[in-house]
């Protein structure tokens, strides 16, 4: 059994439920207004063909009301090659050019329109809410230039420029997402988010010779699944 309702200020909620002959009216189980939420999550970039990217994510939210909050998030991570990428390189000598997300730092707003509860078979009751998030920030992409041939790897007759060393380039980012908190008690919640991080990057930044490569802009979308917990102070 579950019940969800739009989370609204009490006075508005009173009107929302005016048509019901019998209502439950009680202090809200979990109040967010005026509280600081700190949290930790593990973020995974889900839409990448050749690498896994995991980012340790810290979040901090301030809730102005039950429905509105401001949020800051900082994620730092690492990428691992998938077997597919290794197979392409070893079997077909194909080096893929990829964007490795190394960090993102974002700030934005959280809108929580839905507050609900769910009863487990055991009879235990779980309160939860659902929110939308959106904002801006920066995404750091780590370029390794491993797809670029080194001068030592090509015949002497072929002239190549030595690729630059690994570097991280930051790009302005927009994000939007949806998430849910499951309240374990009056301070702790489990939380998941799915977010799309949209940023444009200069294709030349990943080219073997960024100085001479033709500049071009591409839109990249990182879709992250973030799982973790939040603690309300």
């Amino acid at each position: 059994m579950s019940v969800f309702f739009f989370a609204t200020p009490s006075a508005v909620a009173a009107e929302q439920f005016e048509k019901y002959e019998i209502r439950v009216i009680r202090p809200k189980y979990f109040t967010k207004t005026g509280r600081l939420e700190t949290g930790a999550q593990l973020s995974v970039v889900m839409n990448q063909s050749f690498i896994y990217t995991y980012l340790a994510t810290g979040i901090i939210d301030y809730h102005f009301s039950e429905t509105l909050a401001l949020e800051g998030a900082l994620a730092l991570g690492y990428s691992f090659d998938k077997d597919d990428k290794r197979a392409l390189k070893s079997n077909f000598k194909i080096q893929t050019q990829i964007l490795r997300t190394q960090y993102f730092a974002e700030g934005g707003a959280i809108y929580t329109p839905v507050y609900g509860k769910y009863q487990l078979d055991s009879g235990r009751l779980i309160y939860l809410d659902m929110f939308f998030s959106g904002g801006v920030g920066m995404t750091g992409v780590n370029y390794l230039y491993e797809q670029c041939p080194k001068p030592s790897e090509v015949p002497e007759t072929v002239s190549v420029v030595a690729p630059p060393g690994p570097r991280t380039v930051s790009y302005p980012t927009f994000f939007a997402g949806i998430g849910q908190r499951v309240f374990m008690d009056k301070k702790l919640s489990l939380r998941w988010d799915v977010r799309g991080h949209f940023f444009g990057y200069n294709t030349a930044d990943g080219a073997c010779d960024p100085e001479t490569a033709a500049k071009g802009s591409q839109l990249q979308t990182n879709i992250t699944m973030q799982l973790g917990a939040g603690y309300f102070l």
């Binding site: 019998i22 209502r23 009680r26």
Partner: protein, 519 residues
């Protein structure tokens, strides 16, 4: 025997064992041997030896000493009920030079009773009359002694005498909180409401207050406030009763009356909605239908009045019939009422189904719970005693204690059965009274005497401007609330939080009893 004793004292361990094997009775069947075993903390052996010297003493004093030692050794083994048998015998003889253990036995009984309740009837028998000079009561046992003297006088409705005894219970005693509670009840009976509240507050906040004392104190403070028409304060105390308590529904029901008298009709109806939920179909709150009907009457919702009265009849007519049959059957065998309630409680009862709500109420009564504890502890000790058979087999101690425990169970069931029967009979009378009230309400409503009824209910017109949300709580400024609609499905967590949303239809033209006034 004395030769054997001298021999025993000078023996080494090996010789002792040999002597034990060769002359078990001759060597150990005496008080000194029991004392030595006791000193070595061999309580099993000591109990057996004490029992033998108690049963066949060489001198009257040996019996007295062995009786005390037997109690102590059994107590050390955790046979508290069994130990209480011997301590009780000592206490019953009263203080005298030939009964040197009177004071200590009284202390030990107090300790045992605070560990495993011995049952009020058991203790009252010991202290009955209160003829012992207060100086003879040891400090540690004063609370125990005077509390139960007070309890006996209280049961006999000798309230002044009871109050005198309760006041003698010292502050540090584990019986202090209960004594304070009873003093509160006595003060309230005398109309001293403020003093009553002070006593109840003292009872609930004292260190020895158990759950029973705290909840009953809160309930009684609420009732005193209700009596003095301080309804908001009454609600504060009703709200303190925890949801998991047996008293919670009682608090919900009584607070419904407080809301009614405050003219908070939507809160009254909300509380009754909880009482009528399927979760509580076996709970006995017939008066809730009467309160529901007169609340609707106050709102001039005549169809709902009619519906409430019909629901009362539908639900309680079969109860009336079954409880009447039950009382007829058990009139001559009241002790069996305990077994009946026990069978209801453990789910093995298949008859009197319509009277289950009353049996449920009985199963939550102190009379049943106290006897249940006595039966449980007695059975547990009997089971443990069976395990002692090999060690005590030949002494006769096991049989003696088992007989005592069987009798204790019988007495507990008898006492409880009589009380339970009386309570069941009172429930039938209560139903009869309520049934008459439904007829009066209906007749008055149809004869156009609605205003008369309303005046007779003496409702304080909104004497408190506070708005109450669910859970008996006044709405706080800037409080964040959650609302959930009731759409036919009861959620366990919502019980106790319902608030109706109905208007008063008294001013609506043409709204009269007997016409179809559905909204």
């Amino acid at each position: 025997m004395s030769i054997a004793l001298k021999h025993f004292k000078s023996c080494k361990v090996g010789v002792i064992i040999l002597a034990c094997l060769l002359f078990p009775t001759n060597v150990f069947a005496n008080y000194q041997a029991a004392q030595q075993l006791m000193a070595r903390r061999d309580y099993v052996g000591a109990a057996s030896e004490y029992f033998q010297s108690y049963s066949s003493p060489r001198a009257p004093q040996e019996k007295v000493y062995s009786e005390w030692g037997l109690g102590k050794s059994l107590q050390s083994l955790g046979f508290y009920y069994s130990a209480s048998k011997y301590f009780s015998q000592i206490v019953r003889r009263g203080p005298s030079p030939v009964n040197p253990y009177f004071r200590r036995a009284l202390e030990e009984l107090g300790t045992i009773n605070s560990t495993v309740a011995l049952g009020q009837s058991h203790i009252v028998q010991l202290v009955r009359g209160g003829k012992v000079a207060p100086d003879s009561i040891p400090g540690k046992a004063k609370g125990f002694y005077f509390y139960y003297l007070g309890a006996e006088a209280f049961e006999q409705q000798k309230f002044e005498k009871a109050a005198d005894y309760f006041k003698k219970v010292p502050g540090g005693s584990v019986y202090y909180s209960k004594a304070q509670f009873h003093l509160g009840v006595i003060a309230n009976r005398a109309g001293a409401h403020s003093r009553a509240i002070s006593f109840f507050e003292s009872a609930r906040s004292s260190g020895g207050a158990d759950e029973w004392v705290r909840e009953q104190s809160d309930l009684n403070i609420a009732r005193v406030h209700y009596e003095t028409k301080s309804f908001t304060q009454a609600l504060q105390y009703y709200a303190k009763i925890p949801r998991e308590s047996d008293n919670w529904l009682e608090a919900i029901f009584e607070s419904s009356w407080a809301f009614f008298l405050m003219a908070k009709h939507n809160n009254t109806l909300g509380n009754i909605h909880t009482l009528h939920s399927p979760f509580f179909e076996n709970r006995f709150f017939p008066e809730s239908y009467i309160l529901q009907s007169i609340t609707y009457l106050r709102l001039c919702r005549y169809d709902e009045v009619q519906a409430s009265l019909e629901k009362f009849r539908d639900r309680y007519k079969p109860v009336f019939k079954d409880i009447s049959n039950l009382l007829s059957e058990f009139k001559g065998k009241k002790p069996e009422m305990f077994r009946l309630v026990y069978e209801y409680r453990n789910g093995s009862l298949n008859n009197y189904k319509n009277a289950w709500s009353i049996l449920d109420a009985l199963s939550r009564s102190d009379a049943y719970k106290e006897a249940g504890r006595s039966v449980r502890y007695s059975d547990a000790e009997r089971a443990r005693l069976s395990g002692m058979g090999g060690k005590w087999g030949s002494s006769g101690l096991t049989e003696d204690l088992k007989d005592f425990l069987v009798k204790k169970v019988q007495v507990a069931k008898l006492d409880s059965g009589e009380k339970l029967f009386d309570q069941a009979a009172a429930s039938l009378e209560y139903l009869r009274t309520l049934s008459n009230q439904t007829k009066l309400i209906q007749a008055d409503m149809f004869e156009g005497r609605v205003d008369t009824i309303r005046r007779s209910l003496n409702v304080t017109q909104a004497n408190d401007r506070k708005v109450f949300i669910g859970g008996l709580q006044p709405l706080q400024i800037d409080q964040q609330l959650e609302y959930w609609p009731f759409v036919g499905e009861y959620w366990e967590d919502e019980l106790g939080y319902y608030v109706y949303n109905l208007d008063d239809k008294c001013g609506v033209p043409g709204n009269k009893p007997g016409t179809n006034n559905k909204k």
